[in-house]
Symmetry: C2
Subunit: 341 residues, 2 copies
């Protein structure tokens, strides 16, 4: 039996065959980085509890795989944790399914798995089940990762579009567009004095603190990934059938990110974020909510960017611009930035 080194540091079709070489890949590489996790199991047994369970999935196909501030592995863990977090859940267990292109470098896979393991430690979540498939050269682009997640929903969470009312405030946890522009700047070879760094981060500690301390005063949460802040706010307006009013000058941005967006002709409102929270909060609890955010470095620049308007106006998002004009914010039609997450 040939050792893995003889395969010249590359994934082969044989690594995905379910035979000895798959066993070796699992034991020598995957379990090396995830030693306390049970990726070998086809099914995982989770502890029973009497709380409601959240369940989510996402495939991650970002290109390039390694980017300033993160990589595909970190994104796959935090992205799925964030989907659980915004429904008021504490992430408990993740699955990890890899689709790998023949010829992908083992060294890169190793780096990704290290990153997955580190992200799991940070998010206090475990990978409990997994799967690995290999496809031929030209049938994928390096590696794609799917993670599904299970979480326990806080009994204090009462989240939903139907709870939104006129006067509720829109809270944003920090700068927008950093993830999308970090990816695009790297793809385009743009360089700035201050590098653009992806904001990829786990939001679960922040969301849990908000729900824990403010309970039902937190009415809605979402992380603005694909389609960006615009996508979330348009969903809010349409689903609560009210106008949403925001102020451009209150939306935090990094100057390098703004500059890159201008060069590339992108609207930061529609660019993906991977570590930001949009929350709709009952107005009297706006200040307490901001104070909670500011306890977290990743939400240090949290602010109220607008509010839910009346139901007499059209269900749309209206932004007061820095020059005092008004602009209707729309969801992007299609794909601006392919493979951004």
């Amino acid at each position: 039996m040939k050792p893995m080194a003889a395969e010249k540091g590359r994934i082969t079709l044989a690594h995905g065959g379910g035979g000895r070489l798959t066993d070796q890949l699992l034991k020598n590489l995957i379990l090396k980085h995830l030693p306390h996790q049970a990726v070998l199991l086809d099914s995982a047994v989770l502890d029973a509890t009497d709380r409601k369970t959240a369940f989510t999935t996402d495939s991650y196909v970002v290109s390039p795989i390694f980017f300033p501030g993160g990589d595909l592995g970190k994104l796959a863990v935090f992205g799925t944790c964030n989907d659980l977090a915004v429904v008021g859940a504490t992430p408990v267990a993740l699955s990890l399914a890899l689709i790998i292109e023949e010829g992908f470098e083992l060294e890169a896979l190793e780096r990704l798995l290290q990153s997955v393991a580190q992200a799991c430690r940070e998010a206090n979540v475990k990978i409990v089940t997994g799967d690995t498939k290999v496809v031929a050269r030209g049938q994928a682009d390096g590696i794609y990762i799917n993670t599904a997640g299970v979480g326990k929903i806080s009994p204090k969470a009462r989240l939903g579009f139907e709870r939104l009312e006129t006067g509720d405030v829109i809270l944003l946890s920090g700068t927008i567009g950093d993830h999308g522009l970090a990816i695009m700047a790297q793809r385009e070879g743009l360089r700035f004095d201050t590098p653009i760094v992806s904001d990829v981060a786990c939001l679960a500690d922040l969301t849990c603190a908000l729900i824990d301390e403010l309970g039902e005063a937190v009415k809605f949460m979402r992380d603005p990934t694909r389609a960006g802040l615009a996508g979330v706010l348009v969903d809010v307006a349409e689903n609560c059938d009210r106008e949403v009013m925001i102020h451009e000058d209150r939306i935090p941005t990094h100057s390098a990110t703004r500059a890159a967006a201008e060069v590339l002709g992108l609207d930061l409102l529609t660019v993906a974020n991977e570590g930001k929270l949009v929350a709709v909060i009952d107005r009297p609890f706006a200040e307490p909510a901001l104070n909670i955010c500011r306890q977290f470095e990743k939400a240090a620049r949290a602010c109220v960017i607008g509010e839910v308007g009346g139901s007499h106006s059209p269900a749309q998002v209206v932004m007061t611009t820095t020059t005092g004009g008004q602009r209707i914010v729309q969801k992007p039609y299609g794909e601006q930035l392919p493979r951004i997450c």
Copy 2:
């Protein structure tokens, strides 16, 4: 806004952008076929119970996508249900994550989603969360599907390698190799008088009946997919540190499948199945177990193919061949049949 028909019946990068066109794809196509399911939600809330939960994932990359007896959609539902079934769980909820190549035919996607919906009805399971990504031409091969699954484990289930003892019997629910050979025959353009049809099927009703009626007399279950019957039996032998003895003449096969395996030089023991069960049963319960199997059409040819031997022999699988010889059955080393599931 252009209607989807204007896109010439093909998936575009824009369908994966998270914007309007993604909404349209979800509303006009995915929810059309899965109307009672909540694929629109990023996270799903499952009913709480006091039972143990099983959680599993698998990516499905089979080529061709449509094959005799099934397709990628059916496989993605039943395959994940089967992973839950063999740990003693009733499948409750699935996630559905699609990675689609730009240019993939919408008509084919529609057929796959119909198939997913039909399979969910048969398996009495719901898709509760989903994700869709599109990658550029040449970055996937048509479509890949990941499903993760959550199931409730029967309180009567007591399954595990550690329970296996000398004298336990090995039960196989029917013919082997049909899935792998159906795929390979189609790829190679082989034709037989009797077509080879994949055995893809949901095993959960069968496994639940076994656990329900026989309880802890069912000691271990596995569906022999990649690496086939050989893979499962070698795992059994190594994990219970005992010899496993089987009889070639007791293993059911279809004649067309056997013929195709001969033409292609494949060992049926190592070929993937997608609707077969291997169960290790406490010997006194062998007949009751077979009687339960025979109530299901898909397990009508169930039989006892061997037994767990003593711990004094090497932990290997020994097969008495049809000619009376003995052969050591080994797990395949690498990949025989790429993208078989």
